[in-house]
C-alpha cells in the first residue's frame, strides 16, 4: 500500500469521525431549540460536507482495493467515536461499553489484516 493510499484512508477516517460528532451535536441542539436556526443548519451543513469528502475518498480507494479489505479501516472509527463522544459530548461511558467498543475495533482490525 502506497503512502498516498494510507494518507487518503486516514483523511477519510478523520473527516468521518468529525462529521459524526458535529451531527450529534446538531441533533441534540435541535431537540431543544428546533431546526430553524443558524447553529443547527451550519453544523449539519459542515457535517454533511465532511461526510461527502469522506465518501468520495472511499469511492476512489474502492477502485483499487477489495471492499472486504478496505472497509474495515473505518472500524477504527468505533473506538475514536466512543472516546470522543465521552470527551467532547460528555456521554456516560461504562466499562462494559468501552470493552465492547475495543473488541469491535480489534475484530475489525483483524479482518482488515487478514
Amino acid at each position: 500500500m502506497s503512502f498516498l493510499a494510507f494518507f487518503l484512508i486516514v483523511v477519510s477516517l478523520v473527516t468521518f469521525v468529525a462529521a459524526q460528532l458535529m451531527l450529534k451535536r446538531a441533533m441534540e441542539f435541535s431537540a431543544t431549540n428546533g431546526m430553524r436556526n443558524a447553529y443547527f443548519v451550519s453544523r449539519v451543513a459542515v457535517g454533511v460536507a465532511l461526510m461527502t469528502v469522506s465518501f468520495f475518498l472511499t469511492l476512489g480507494l474502492l477502485q483499487r482495493f477489495d471492499l472486504s479489505y478496505l472497509y474495515p479501516f473505518q472500524g477504527l472509527s468505533v473506538i475514536f467515536i466512543t472516546i470522543l463522544a465521552a470527551v467532547v459530548l460528555k456521554e456516560k461511558l461504562s466499562a462494559r461499553l468501552t470493552i465492547g467498543a475495543l473488541l469491535i475495533t480489534a475484530g475489525i482490525v483483524l479482518v482488515s489484516m487478514s
Partner: protein
C-alpha cells in the same frame, strides 16, 4: 410507551392543534413542538446532562419512529449501498488515471447512484437515531455493518474470507453483544 403523534412533551405539546398533530410525521412533529416552546438558553442544550438524555430515550416514539428500528434501517441501507458501491466502482475502475483517486469518475456507474440514494436514506435515519440515542451507544451498534459487509462480499461478490478474518468477525460479534446487552435490559424495564 407513548405513541407517535400524541403530545410527548407535556404542556408544550398540548398547544398543538389536532390537525397539526395528525398531519405531522415524527420528524416535523418534534420540530414544531419544540418551536412552540420558549427558546431556551443555548448553553444548557449544549451541555446536556445524562438525566435529560435518559429521559429522552424513554420518551422516544414507538412504531416507525422507534430509534432502534431506524438504526436497523440505517444499517441495512449502508450494507446494501456498500455492495453496490464496490460493484459500481469496479465497473468504471481506471487505476491508471491519476484523477480517479478522487473517486468522482465513479459517478459514471448507475450502481453508484443507487448506492448514493441508499446512503442518503441511511443518513436521514441516522440523524433521527442521533436525536434519541447517545453516540457512544449508537455508533458501536451501527458497526454490525462490519460483519454484514464481509459476509455480503463472501456471498454476493465472491471475495474470500480467511480463517483470521472469521476470527475478526467473531470478535466484533462479542463486542456488539457486550454493547447491546445493557440496552436489551433497559428495554425490558420500559
Amino acid at each position: 410507551m407513548e405513541r407517535v403523534g400524541k403530545p410527548r412533551h407535556g404542556t408544550e405539546g398540548q398547544r398543538l392543534s389536532e390537525r397539526e398533530v395528525s398531519e405531522s410525521n415524527p420528524w416535523t412533529y418534534c420540530a414544531s413542538s419544540f418551536r412552540l416552546s420558549t427558546v431556551r438558553d443555548i448553553s444548557t442544550s449544549l451541555d446536556m446532562t445524562t438525566e435529560t438524555r435518559e429521559k429522552r430515550m424513554q420518551n422516544r416514539p414507538s412504531d416507525f419512529g422507534n430509534p432502534w428500528l431506524q438504526l436497523g434501517l440505517s444499517v441495512a441501507c449502508v450494507f446494501v449501498s456498500e455492495l453496490l458501491l464496490k460493484r459500481g466502482a469496479s465497473e468504471v475502475a481506471a487505476p491508471d488515471d491519476g484523477f480517479s483517486w478522487t473517486g468522482i469518475n465513479g459517478l459514471a456507474s448507475p450502481l453508484v447512484w443507487w448506492a448514493i440514494l441508499l446512503i442518503i436514506g441511511s443518513f436521514v435515519s441516522w440523524l433521527y437515531v442521533l436525536r434519541y440515542i447517545p453516540l457512544s451507544l449508537a455508533y458501536p451498534l451501527s458497526r454490525v455493518v462490519d460483519i454484514l459487509v464481509p459476509l455480503g462480499c463472501w456471498i454476493f461478490l465472491g471475495e474470500l474470507i480467511s480463517a483470521l478474518r472469521w476470527c475478526g468477525i467473531a470478535l466484533v460479534v462479542i463486542g456488539l453483544a457486550l454493547v447491546a446487552k445493557p440496552i436489551a435490559k433497559m428495554e425490558e424495564r420500559l
